[in-house]
């Protein structure tokens, strides 16, 4: 974990490293799946999320918090046969 420079009057942000769709990503510690999807500007409809191989139901997006080393997969339908 690394602490970001403290901005006066605000609490320090703590960042953790996770992997999203194979890409190393730094996120604010304690962010939920909802928070991650908002940050990445990803629509919820026809999207599914798995964290460390376990599929997260949409109803838990607001409560599941991501932590250091988590592997997140975000998928949706694409062209295919």
């Amino acid at each position: 974990m690394t602490a970001a420079p403290l901005i006066e009057g605000e609490r320090p942000f703590v960042f953790v490293k996770i992997t999203v769709n194979g890409q190393p990503t730094e996120i604010e510690a304690g962010i939920t799946i909802d928070g991650l999807l908002d940050t990445l500007n990803i629509k919820r409809q026809y999207t599914a999320v798995a964290v460390n191989r376990e599929i997260t139901p949409k109803s838990e997006y607001g409560s599941v918090k991501l932590s250091e080393g988590d592997k997140v997969e975000i998928v949706r339908p694409m062209g295919g046969g």
């Binding site: 999203v20 599914a48 975000i74 046969g81």
Partner: protein, 260 residues
């Protein structure tokens, strides 16, 4: 002609052509081609979202209210991967009808029969309508039916090869072996291939590349629609017997005599 509908997972479909959404030059061409094909079931792959998000979605071009989406498990090499992909598809809101692929070899994309059977059992137990892409093997087809598959989808030839129905006799035996619908999946290259599959007595045909990689995909989509209908009609009509020598179509009596 009165014809029964294709029934899969309790849903009825009047079109017996299932089409894919891959390899199109543009989403607009894809949308029009699918419309022209008359298909009611459309396959999609499940893939990672491009990051950052907000790019256009394939579902901006295929209305899920109009078409039944059929997520596939293309690219899965184990039963576990395929099963997880189906769960992802269900969680994404794509329903419980799945085109199950468990691939055994990268070069031929032939199915891994063992993994396919295992995944079929698991998914059928979990309430999915399982449509497995399989070899043209009647023994395997029967095992898949017994495992709870909603239909069997033998290949006509390797995926994307366009080689046509390479073993019509095996397809015929599969038709006699199972009671679930038989849908030829993969190998169709042009309209006559689709007609042959239907003339054999198949319940449907699934294709992607034959339409998407045609010079004019929209015309080919229409050709495929007509071919599937023609083949179905011919199959129901019952073809004439084959004979080695000619049999005159015109009466042999009453021919004028021109001899002098």
């Amino acid at each position: 002609m009165y014809d029964s509908n294709l029934v899969l997972g309790g849903k009825e479909f009047s079109s017996r052509l299932i089409v894919g959404t891959g390899k199109y030059s543009s989403n607009e061409v894809m949308r029009t081609a699918i419309e022209e094909s008359g298909a009611e079931i459309v396959t999609v792959a499940i893939r990672r979202v491009a990051l950052p998000g907000s790019g256009e979605s394939i579902l901006d071009f295929i209305d899920p209210k109009r078409y039944t989406l059929l997520p596939n498990t293309a690219g899965c090499y184990t039963a576990d991967e395929a099963v997880r992909t189906c769960y992802l598809a269900r969680e994404a809101g794509l329903g419980e009808m799945v085109k199950l692929e468990v691939i055994g070899d990268q070069r031929t994309l032939f199915p891994d029969a063992q993994g396919l059977l295992e995944a079929t059992k698991t998914l059928a137990r979990e309430g999915f309508t399982v449509m497995p892409y399989t070899n043209d093997d009647p023994v395997m087809a029967k095992k898949l039916e017994d495992a709870g598959a909603a239909c069997v989808m033998p290949l006509g030839a390797p995926i994307g090869s366009g080689l046509g129905i390479r073993n019509p006799y095996n397809i015929k035996i599969i038709l006699e072996t199972v009671t679930v619908p038989v849908i030829v999946d993969a190998g169709v290259g042009t309209a006559s291939d689709a007609a042959i599959a239907m003339e054999l007595g198949c319940d449907g045909v699934l294709m992607n590349t034959a339409i998407a990689a045609a010079t004019d995909p929209i015309s080919m989509a229409k050709a495929m629609k007509l071919a599937v209908q023609a083949g179905r009609l011919a199959s129901k009509a019952g073809r004439m017997g084959k004979k080695l020598y000619a049999t005159a179509s015109s009466p042999l009596e009453g021919v004028p005599d021109w001899t002098s």
